[in-house]
Amino acid sequence: MSDFDLDRPWRVSGSVALRPERFGALAYSFDTRRLSFLKSRTLYEIVRSLAEHPSGRAACEAAGASGGELPPLCTALGTLAATGMIEERVA
């Protein structure tokens, strides 16, 4: 279950830093002082490149994710959006 809209343009929030790790990445928000764990390299690649793509879906495709891989990624992106780690950008 996720109400994350994959077809809109997204980006990493301004106050958030990403650190790649073997398991995925750490994301830290200097705004909320919250640390999140991105639990796969694919998710890291998608989040890192969100701003380079016209939509979340395009970022997923560019990272090689499709079909059945999308729903869990969409849930993860929804959590990141809800906690302010990523935000919608004006297209």
């Binding site: 106050s15 073997r22 398991f23 750490l26 200097f30 640390l35 639990k39 796969s40 990624l73």
Partner: protein
């Protein structure tokens, strides 16, 4: 989020290339003399890192992408270059959360702190009343902390931290602490009393009783993520559900301590040669110690839980806190002295009077009697 075959906690137990965060004690100097001080602080050490050396540490942390450091001491703000180092860190994208007794938090300083997203402040308070607090932290320290908290609130600093070490004397005040935090727009942080530093001298009398621990656990469960704990009570998960947090010992794996003279220890509660990984003044610097020290490599390998491994709760409590065992003189591959199932108590009782638990490697306490009469005056004679 997607779940792989390997649990996240397994990655953390095997260690990361850089700490998630670390504690950096900037000085052993302190204007207070709390009875349970983890770092036995009081007097400055002449070998403390210079401003230049501190800047080099910050450069390394930036390169390693350490998001933030927990700065403490001693009282870090007594260093003359403290505010300069704070600015240097935030300019280099290393966030700072610093712990203070509040004595230097003037209205002007509070304004400045409130305006900086990269800085968080943690005021130490160990009693919700002056009576309870000042017995541990010293006369007037409650008033000092409350004054600082008032300045931060008035400056509009949101969500600064009020940090409480839970003891036998203040465990009944948890709701009162929460009210003080709410009153100041602050967030409450409750951590465990460790038998480290001078804490070893008072731990027997001040650590919560078994019944109090249970009460504390229920209170923490009820408050969930509203109350921070720095992951310090994962050993209590054996009471039932796990508390929020990673639920593991991060020492040398995802956290560590840099002390005022540049020594790197596995965690802030383990200032002892047995947990000393190296010094940042050696050629490889901090990164070299973090990545190559023999101690950290060992801590990142498989650990033996000894008798605890047959316990049904071993998966969640992991044998508890290494430092708590070490400084109470218990074996590292056995139960935590405050094991929720009570397995620590017979071991503590079995130590007998005058047991010889290890002493901390550094002691900068003021007002201590000399160990031998001639340490103070070569002509002294015993008069007692």
């Amino acid at each position: 989020m997607s779940v792989g075959a390997v649990r996240l906690v397994d990655h953390f137990e095997a260690g990361l290339d850089a700490p998630i965060c670390l504690t950096w004690e900037l000085t052993y100097a302190c204007n207070l003399a709390c009875v349970h001080c983890l770092s036995s602080s009081g007097r400055r050490d002449p070998r403390e890192l210079s401003t230049e050396e501190c800047r080099a540490v910050i450069d390394e942390l930036e390169a390693m992408q350490v998001f933030y450091v927990n700065i403490g001491g001693g009282e870090p703000t007594v260093r003359r270059d403290f505010w300069e180092l704070l600015d240097y860190a935030t300019a280099h994208h290393v966030g700072v959360k610093f712990s203070t007794n509040g004595s230097r938090i003037t209205p002007e300083i509070a304004e400045r702190l409130a305006g900086d997203d990269y800085v968080d402040v943690q005021i130490s308070l160990d009693g919700a009343t002056p009576e309870v607090n000042d017995r541990v932290r010293g006369a007037g320290s409650y008033a000092t902390a409350l004054r600082a908290m008032g300045h931060l609130r008035d400056a509009g600093m949101e969500n600064f931290k009020i940090s409480v070490v839970v003891t036998r004397e203040n465990v009944a005040e948890l709701d009162a602490f929460k009210a003080i935090a709410d009153d100041h727009g602050a967030q409450l942080r409750i951590t465990r009393l460790r038998p480290s530093g001078r804490g070893a001298d008072v731990w027997d009398e001040l650590h919560p009783t078994a019944a109090q621990q249970r009460e504390l656990y229920d209170w923490l469960v009820a408050h969930g993520e509203d109350v921070l704990t720095g992951d310090s009570f994962f050993h209590l998960s054996a009471y039932g559900q796990a508390l929020p947090g990673l639920g593991m010992c991060g020492a040398g794996r995802v956290v560590c301590l840099i002390d005022p003279i540049g020594d790197v220890y596995a965690c802030p509660f383990a200032i002892h040669d047995a947990f000393l990984a190296g010094n940042i003044r050696t050629p490889g610097g901090f990164a070299g110690v973090w990545r190559e020290s023999e101690l950290f490599t060992r801590l990142r390998g498989p650990q033996s839980g000894g008798a605890c491994e047959s316990c049904g709760f071993y998966d969640s409590c992991r044998g508890g806190c290494m430092a708590a065992k070490f400084f109470t003189g218990l074996p590292l591959d056995g139960p935590d002295p405050e094991c929720a199932l009570g397995h620590g108590e017979p071991l503590l009782a079995g130590r007998g009077a005058g047991h010889d638990a290890p002493r901390p490697a550094q002691d900068h306490s003021r007002l201590r009697p000399p160990a031998r009469a001639c340490d103070e005056n070569p002509l002294a004679v015993w008069t007692r």
